[in-house]
Symmetry: C2
Subunit: 311 residues, 2 copies
């Protein structure tokens, strides 16, 4: 295989992904594991990283670019935040070099919105954003990045102007596992984005988001009074939370811009289904590719630049 | 002490309360424990009840009236539901006699709303309602009963016409204990209803309920970026969920009727604070007294009526 030029790592709270990349940004090999920040904080960040690099027989001097929770206060080395409004490339200048490891490892910072009434943070999504955004005809772009903590970002003329986090994925997880609704969804099969219960729940929550904590309870009462199946219960729960998120992110503004949806896998199809049933225009960008493209851009700027250009 | 005439029991999911009452409905003695349905389903409902009655030296033939989760499918004996719209006294006619125990024990049914789009159930609150409602000048009354699953009930001319459950208390519990917000609220002290963070959160969620899953995340980002204290974090979480509930219950209707708030203790003061800051009119009825009055009304009709009048 071609010679690897760098390794790119997306280090989340509960997941670890590493790609071995050549100088032309071709993926040579990939590793995925559940050794996210939570696990690595116990077993050691350098140990986790070195084990994955060794498994791929990576050269001992291969440089590594990292985004995500490895840069959190409870992570490997705190990489701080770049405050918005900010141009995305400012993230590259804020990368922190890890000491105490025998190779060049840099961790990218997150973004912070230090607004008194709307404080917000992201870590990892800024790199996805860096890889996802292309010059657009519109001056103002709205980006949706679904997940445990979904991010909606407004970019105006290549400046990240504001963003909002919605706890959609975590609420789904909490309610399915720990609430009274857990009895309703126990044994649910996977459902698709064209599931009618999912789509009606998206519409119901989008139309009446203020009633969300009541709509959620109808999952329970639906089981008791209407024989709602576990799969339909899970679909209603998911659709309700996604409909609420979209209502909150778009607000009551009459303007409905094309949404850049940065997503992969199951979440991609659910959000595509939800946006479609609400008649909202969107354009999908693969989230896995986006984060890799963002990490590659950072690697070229930070790790592979000629010595005199390195920060 | 006067001779006890009956025992009144409010048997919730996680709590058990018993009052020994005389024929004039004076409380002679009280027992409170955490042997709710969940515990009693393990240790045995008759055993729990008998132990508490024995501790009070109650006569072995003392009749007992019960409301709440003891009548659920997973409870002692299923007491079913009375379907709304229904006059509240219909609940009395639906009481179920428990067999296999050597005294007269009756369990009151719950209420069910078998509406395709808004299925809902209550169990226990119907008895509170029975004790709380008095003839009012207005034909239409709105009743708010806060709790783990808050109930908002519309009563029109003594007929329960509709009701809605909001998962406010359970969401507070889940988010404080199991979510990313648990780090923010860990070590929180108790806060009062006049806490400014609580009151601003009520207003913010009431004004923009569609953004609730974002407002909730500001508890986390407030900790990270603004040194939000654990107590203020808990106050913001609580205020957000209560503001959301009130927004959902009242909707966008211009009409703002006097709300009958049926509540006790901490919840009473928080909801009074929340309704006040939103400039909503309310009248408070003590929830403990209300459930006891409801149980007393049921006891007189079902247990203490002359034999020929007993159902």
């Amino acid at each position: 295989m071609t010679k690897p030029a760098y390794a790119a790592v997306d280090w989340g709270t509960s997941s670890f992904r590493l790609w071995l990349m050549d100088a032309e940004d071709t993926v040579l090999a990939e590793r995925r594991s559940s050794e996210g920040m939570t696990t690595a904080a116990q077993t050691g960040f350098p140990q986790v990283l070195t084990a994955h690099l060794s498994a791929l027989a990576a050269p001992s001097d291969l440089p590594v670019i990292v985004c995500g929770m490895a840069g959190a206060r409870q992570g490997w080395v705190e990489a701080g935040y770049v405050d918005v409004p900010a141009p995305l490339p400012a993230v590259l200048a804020g990368a922190v070099r890890v000491s105490g490891i025998d190779r060049d490892v840099r961790i990218l910072p997150g973004l912070a919105q230090r607004h008194a009434d709307a404080p917000d943070v992201m870590r990892g999504e800024e790199t996805q954003l860096l890889g996802a955004l292309q010059s657009a005809a519109e001056s103002r772009q709205i980006v949706c990045m679904p997940g445990t903590h979904s991010k909606w970002v407004t970019v105006t003329d290549d400046l990240v102007t504001s963003f909002s986090t919605f706890m959609t994925g975590e609420l789904f997880d909490l309610l399915s596992k720990h609430s009274v609704l857990s009895h309703s969804v126990a044994g649910a099969a996977s459902f698709d984005a064209d599931c009618p219960t999912f789509l009606s729940a998206v519409k119901a929550a989008f139309r009446a988001p203020q009633r969300v904590s009541n709509i959620l309870f109808t999952v329970r009462s639906g089981t008791l009074l209407q024989d709602l199946s576990p799969t339909d219960a899970a679909a209603r729960l998911s659709g309700t939370l996604i409909g609420l998120e979209i209502a909150g992110a778009l607000g009551s503004a009459a303007e409905r811009p094309v949404i850049r949806l940065v997503a992969s896998g199951k979440l991609r199809s659910l959000y595509e289904g939800a946006l479609s049933v609400l008649s909202l225009s969107f354009q999908t960008i693969d989230a896995d590719e986006a984060v890799r493209r963002g990490l590659s851009a950072a690697a070229h700027k930070i790790l592979l630049a000629k010595p005199e250009e390195k920060p």
